[in-house]
């Protein structure tokens, strides 16, 4: 325990030193490069290779490291689709948008559009679009920050989000945009180096059907009980009936997608360990009961009950929350901290209410009950995990393992090469235990069950686990829509193209971009190893997959975990700072100064910008708390969809279609935003966020790109054609 605490303290120290170093460097270089000239002179002096890695540092946000790896860890190849899409988007930006925009002499979406038309409508629409895309992009960064601090500093998700938000607001409000090329270079370079180290360690560790994280965590075999099919209440097999009793069952969903969870009462013996401390074995963990040891000793030694009989019923006087209350007599029993402890034959037991997932048995006459994990939110506000109150010791267990490797249930590969690692996992006879979740109400309790789903290797290593590619065409559209949005989204993100112009010559800009594509592409190939490594090494938190890659690092080494967490945290800080500055600029510069004609002086503009940064930061903190647990990359996918729908049609048509008018651009931006954001709000994924069933959502899939992008294009063409005469007349 002592050694563990020391290692964790070391991790925290490394984490804070790294974050302080990055922040200090950021402030120092930011102060040196306050003027535009200074900033861009630095850009001109920096070698293209360094600038290229800085591009990568800028682009590889929380979505890439936390989100993609987390999604691969839970659904396999579908997470890797984001890697493919994010990189492809960079190519679209380089080939189609960058050079023509440069020829136009402008360097952002808003500037380029406004330069040609000088329209108030465009100024407002472009500013609103920048604001919405920035906030959509901010949410996942904040969610990532909240996920990061929990295992490292022990803070709750909400406190993590508030911490990041406060630091960033402080940076933006005091130092302005201090993110520099060298800081991004440092972050990007370290992220790629340490991710490579972890990928090599994953291959070296190899594949194992009983993963024990290098001997540090004992392997736990999840149980499967058997019962007779068609019996009501369900009749358990003789062997299982000794320790379990059926209390009821709950079915959610309909038809083929119906899920049934069986509620069992499970008798667990409370015993003393070798040090004489009372313990409860709870799955792979042991909960220590030092604080109630004396009460348990009393219970096991003698019958301590004080009983009363009222109207013929026998009651026991028990102490609950410091008050004496009457409880129906259940034998020699004591209630301590809300848990009932029973004495029987000199042994102490507790009865845990557990949930088991019903699945098909070996024959038609049998059903299997698969062991799950579950979280119960009690009406009194308490949270119970796996049948015991939530505590520092009692948390959800990390999951993800191979159940069969090449058809063998007890196999270990030893070190494998990078191709062999992927090949072994792609086999049909390799089977992997992945986890899903379901929510339902049980009386006044709100229950979330995390249940295992066994998948074969060929399923995991092809698309279709998150996006339903084996179902009807309408369902398949979610996948097509995402791939379209990722492809077109990068070029439409307000903060991406800017970096393309921060070097001296066009040739240098292109060379930097190539280095960036090489670095980003290499990192995205690594995500496959990090994600799959987490999937088979029992490091995935079933309630939130965002921490899979850092937790994988922790399974090797706590110091590696601290370094990786610090890099990820610094990345979040950098990205969030940039986005908040971009969003506050849209409010202060585009809306208040240019659109509103408020004629502010320099000082007033800075004050307005700081106030806007504070407000946007506050909104980001609130949304970061609300979206807790959602995959970071999935959320960024939405930001890409909104950017691609609202901005890209306007950019492309302005560059390549001469009949484009100001009215057409304004209409396409507005339609793009409304359709994309509206679609997201009515999507199945959001309905789950609202606490409803995904099947209740009026829309069949969640990603809006395939509808919103064409809608925006069509609107631009129609409105531009309708406003041609006015434009021609105005020119005359």
């Amino acid at each position: 325990m002592m050694v563990l605490a020391q290692v964790q303290s070391l991790s925290v120290v490394i984490f804070f030193i790294f974050v302080a170093f990055v922040l200090g460097l950021s402030f120092y270089l930011g102060r040196r490069a306050k003027s535009a000239k200074g900033y861009f002179a630095a850009g001109g002096e920096i070698p293209y290779a360094v600038n290229g890695i800085a591009f990568a540092g800028d682009y590889l946000s929380a979505a890439s490291f936390l989100g993609i790896c987390g999604m691969i860890a839970t659904v396999g190849y579908d997470g890797y689709l984001y890697s493919i899409g994010y990189l492809a988007g960079w190519i679209v930006a380089l080939f189609v948008v960058a050079e023509p925009m440069k020829r136009l002499g402008k360097y952002t979406f808003a500037d380029a559009l406004d330069a040609k038309f000088n329209s108030k409508g465009i100024q407002l629409a472009a500013a609103i679009s920048t604001l919405i895309v920035s906030i959509c992009y901010l949410i996942p960064q904040m969610v990532g920050a909240g996920a990061l601090v929990k295992p490292l500093l022990g803070l709750d998700h909400a406190w993590g989000v508030i911490m990041v938000g406060s630091i960033v607001i402080f940076i933006v409000a005091t130092a302005g945009m201090a993110s520099t090329t060298w800081v991004q270079f440092l972050k990007g370079g370290l992220l790629i180096i340490f991710s490579t180290v972890i990928a090599i360690m994953v291959c070296h560790r190899g594949l194992d059907t009983k993963p024990d994280q290098g001997g540090t965590v004992p392997y736990y075999e999840y149980k499967t009980l058997t019962a007779q099919n068609g019996t009501s209440p369900l009749k358990l097999s003789e062997a299982d009936a000794k320790d379990y009793q059926v209390l009821g069952q709950k079915t959610i969903g309909e038809g083929d997608k119906a899920l049934t969870f069986v509620k069992l009462s499970q008798r667990v013996e409370v015993k003393k360990d070798e040090n004489g401390v009372w313990i409860v074995p709870l799955k792979e963990r042991v909960i220590h009961l030092e604080t109630i040891g004396e009460a348990l000793d009393r219970l096991v030694k003698s019958d301590t009950r004080e009983t009363r009989v009222i109207d013929g019923e026998k009651y026991t006087v028990i102490e609950l929350n410091g008050r004496k209350v009457l409880s129906l007599d259940e034998g020699n029993m004591d209630v301590i901290d809300g848990v009932k402890y029973y004495e029987e034959g000199g042994k102490i037991y507790i009865h845990i209410t557990s949930w088991w997932k019903r699945s098909a048995g070996a024959t038609e006459n049998d059903v299997n009950l698969d062991e799950t994990q579950w979280v119960t939110a009690r009406p009194d506000g308490g949270t119970w995990i796996n049948g015991e109150p939530q505590s520092e010791e009692n948390q959800l267990l990390q999951v993800g393992s191979i159940t069969e490797l090449n058809g063998k249930t007890d196999a270990k590969s030893g070190p494998v090469g990078p191709f062999e690692f992927l090949a072994e996992l792609s086999r049909k006879d390799t089977r992997i235990r992945t986890w899903k979740s379901a929510n339902f109400e049980d009386g006044q309790d709100k229950v979330t069950v995390y249940y295992p789903v066994i998948k074969s290797g060929n399923q995991i290593m092809t698309p279709g686990q998150k996006f339903p590619l084996r179902e009807g065409w309408i369902k398949k559209m979610d996948f097509a829509s995402l791939m379209l949005a990722l492809f077109f989204g990068t070029a439409a993100l307000p903060h991406i193209l800017i970096r393309y112009y921060t070097v001296r010559t066009p040739a240098c800009a292109r060379k930097s971009t190539i280095v960036a594509i090489a670095a980003i592409g290499f990192f995205y190939i690594l995500t496959m190893y990090l994600g799959l490594g987490a999937m088979v090494n029992r490091v995935v938190n079933p309630a939130s997959d965002n921490m899979s890659a850092p937790l994988l690092a922790k399974s090797f080494n706590s110091v590696l975990f601290a370094i990786i967490s610090a890099i990820a945290f610094a990345t979040v800080l950098g990205t969030v700072s940039g986005l908040i500055v971009a969003a506050s600029g849209a409010v202060a510069h585009d809306i208040m100064d240019r659109f509103g004609n408020l004629k502010m002086n320099e000082k007033q503009k800075v004050t307005a910008g700081k106030l806007a940064a504070f407000t946007v930061g506050l909104v980001a903190i609130i949304l970061g708390i609300v979206f807790k647990g959602m995959n970071v990359s999935y959320l960024v996918g939405w930001a890409f969809a909104v950017a691609a729908s609202a901005n890209l049609p306007a950019i492309l048509m302005l560059l390549f279609w001469k009949k484009t008018t100001a009215g057409g651009i304004v209409a396409s931006i507005i339609v793009g935003i409304i359709v994309a954001v509206g679609w997201i709000l009515l999507s199945p994924q959001m309905f789950e966020r609202y606490g409803k069933l995904a099947s209740d959502a009026p829309l069949p899939f969640s990603s809006p790109g395939i509808v919103a992008i064409p809608a925006s294009f069509i609107t631009l063409v129609i409105v531009s054609l309708l406003t041609q005469k006015k434009t021609a007349a105005a020119k005359a």
Binding site: G44, L94, R103, F479, Y501, A507
Partner: protein, 110 residues
């Protein structure tokens, strides 16, 4: 935020060529990308086919799209740089640029 280039750029005679080349390469990459999406939509089990070293089509295509993007970026940069040298930096091009600049100056004086 400041959205300006690192250094002011002059007349670029290669810009039309670069735009054309960019669009052509974009179409090529978009077709390869669309191929991956189309196979997944048509029959995702095709991606399970093992190609070499035990790797399936999904992995090879997915990694291939990343490597292909890098190759295309290299090709694009190479051609653009050659054309910029040819049209902007040759003695003939420099003369033409100077002539244009002179004309612009005169025009401005009027």
């Amino acid at each position: 935020m400041l959205h300006e280039p690192a250094a002011p750029t002059g007349v670029d005679h290669a810009s039309a060529y670069k735009t054309r080349l960019g669009v052509v390469l974009f179409i090529v990459y978009a077709l390869v990308y669309a191929g991956f999406v189309a196979i997944s939509l048509y029959d995702v089990t095709i991606l399970e086919s093992i190609l070499f070293c035990g790797l399936n089509l999904a992995v090879v295509y997915g990694f291939g799209l990343i490597v292909f993007a890098l190759l295309m970026a290299l090709v694009y940069s190479g051609f653009c740089t050659r054309k910029e040298r040819e049209l902007n930096e040759s003695p003939k091009a420099k003369k033409s640029i100077a002539k244009k600049a002179g004309r612009a100056k005169k025009g401005g004086a009027k």
